[in-house]
């Protein structure tokens, strides 16, 4: 089921959380809402779920206007950053909650819960209480609970934000694989650009309550629509009038047109990559990343004067 967000605005007192945001999420796609904290991305997710109401604008789910529909009737699965586990219920009862509320037959509920316990790899934890699970397990339970009533839309609010780095990257891959199996239209909120790049079909970059750009990870990286997108999705730094990514700079030993003279002040070897830090004539810092092979071939040294030639630099009009 597709999700269409149409001109949604939301204010909390004087604070503008969302300002005229429109976004399309295709049926079956995995969309990331990416932005810094306080950008309004979680508010947008909550408005899609019906947990928050928009001041203006509309939400269409599967082509039907859902703006005034209560969250209970939206058939949306929601996963919370801090799990929102029902701690007085076992894992089984947590997962079964949405089905019991819908008064499904007992046998059917038991079967569906078993299926989901398998899907989230908690087969042996059904009788435990949430307090007896690790953070990653609790979040998998949260996911199974949200998926149990077979929602047409799955919404995740920083689902891995409270977990440590290793568990986070495991769960992130696992979510991608799960999505390939379940095919439910999924929107998840994150402030982690790597997470967004790694698993989503579409990324919507949100900043100060406005949608900066929406597109595939590749589109955003290769053709950022604004300075904010370029610096938030991947690294970027100013070089002259332009912005350029650290990988997109050639270091030449002779001056050429468009190259900036700079001196190497520091060289760091990062395994397969080499990081070269330079100062230009004005003292501005510049970082260049290249493969070890290229670095070894050229044989750069500290104190060397080189000419930095940007390959894919971008100039953005001053944003007001």
């Amino acid at each position: 089921m597709s999700i269409l967000v149409r001109n949604v605005s939301k204010r909390f007192g004087d604070f503008v959380a969302l300002d005229d945001v429109s976004l399309d999420a295709e049926s079956g796609a995995l969309t990331a809402l990416l932005g810094p904290s306080g950008s309004g991305k979680s508010t947008l997710l909550r408005i899609i779920a019906g947990l928050e109401t928009a001041d203006e604008g509309a939400i269409l789910l599967g082509g039907k206007d859902a703006t005034a529909v209560a969250p209970q009737k939206r058939n949306v699965g929601f996963v919370f950053q801090h799990y929102a586990a029902f701690k007085h219920m076992t894992v089984r009862d947590n997962i079964a909650f949405g089905l019991k509320v819908r008064k499904r037959p007992k046998a059917e509920i038991a079967e569906r819960v078993d299926e989901l316990l398998n899907l989230v790899q908690l087969q042996n934890f059904g009788h435990r209480y949430p307090a007896q699970l690790s953070g990653g397990q609790r979040q998998r339970m949260g996911l199974a609970r949200a998926l149990a009533p077979e929602p047409q839309v799955l919404l995740l609010d920083e689902p891995f934000g409270a977990l440590d780095a290793r568990v986070r990257s495991e769960l992130r891959e696992w979510l991608r694989r799960l999505h390939d199996v379940v095919h439910v239209t999924t929107v998840f909120v994150t402030h982690d650009q790597d997470e967004a790049m790694e698993i989503s079909d579409q990324i919507a970059v949100i900043n100060h309550g406005r949608l900066e750009q929406a597109g595939s990870p590749r589109e955003l990286y290769d053709n950022p629509a604004s300075e904010f997108v370029m610096t938030f999705v991947g690294d970027a730094q100013p070089l002259g009038e332009a912005l350029v990514r650290p990988h997109d700079i050639d270091l030449l030993t002779e001056p050429v047109d468009g190259a900036v003279e700079a001196m190497i002040v520091r060289v760091t070897l990062l395994g397969r990559d080499a990081k070269v830090e330079l100062h230009d004539a004005s003292g501005a810092e510049l970082v260049v990343l290249m493969t070890r092979d290229r670095f070894d071939d050229a044989g750069y040294w500290r104190g060397q004067t080189v000419w930095a030639l940007p390959q894919r630099e971008r100039v953005f009009a001053e944003t007001a």
Partner: protein, 244 residues
Amino acid sequence: MVMVGLPLAALMWEATSEGTQSFRDAVSSPEAVAALKLTLGASLAVAVLNAVLGTITAWVLVRDDFRGKTVVNAIIDLPFALPTIVAGLTLLALYGPTSPVGIDVAFSRTSIVLALMFVTLPFVVRTVQPVLQELDPELEEAAHSLGASTWTTFRRIVLPNILPGILSGVALAFAKAVGEFGSLVIITGNIPFETEVSSVHIYGRIESGDSAGAAAVAVVLLAISFATLVSIGVIRHFATRHDR
């Protein structure tokens, strides 16, 4: 131990000073039994009423925003601070023969319930309030997004989480109600077999020089209070069993 234990030991000593037979007689005299039945009945009724009223009050104070909320929040504690005899006078003025609101329930059993509700309401409010404050609103949002109505969400998610708080508040209110004296002695009229509660009955025994009889009934009240305290402990134990 000395502070608490010594007076209790003295009470037990006094209660049995004239032998176990007179202890049994004092406790099972028709007037003592009637007073005890009335005390327990009224206290139970008050506990149940306050479970509902106190929970609603706590809910409004935690979840709603309205003008004068801080004032209302402060007033809740008034029965704690007010000398109970003053509470009794206040209630007599409000619900007595000269009632400005036209309700005269003085010297009736209704007055016992009203007085006890007044002095014990804060026990429930003050135990439920922190539990509600700690209850993550995301739990309710999760339930809603899973299709649960507001009522189902309250019954299946909110209530199980705040029930231990309600129960221990109710138990405290019950224990307080069983021993209440000051607020009742004026408004109830202390009619034996009618509106005389156990604490007033004890006072009456002492007035008529029967200190052993007074102590005997007091021991019964003490046992009830003790059982109530134990039940609070049991409730707390069970309430937190999934958090450990």
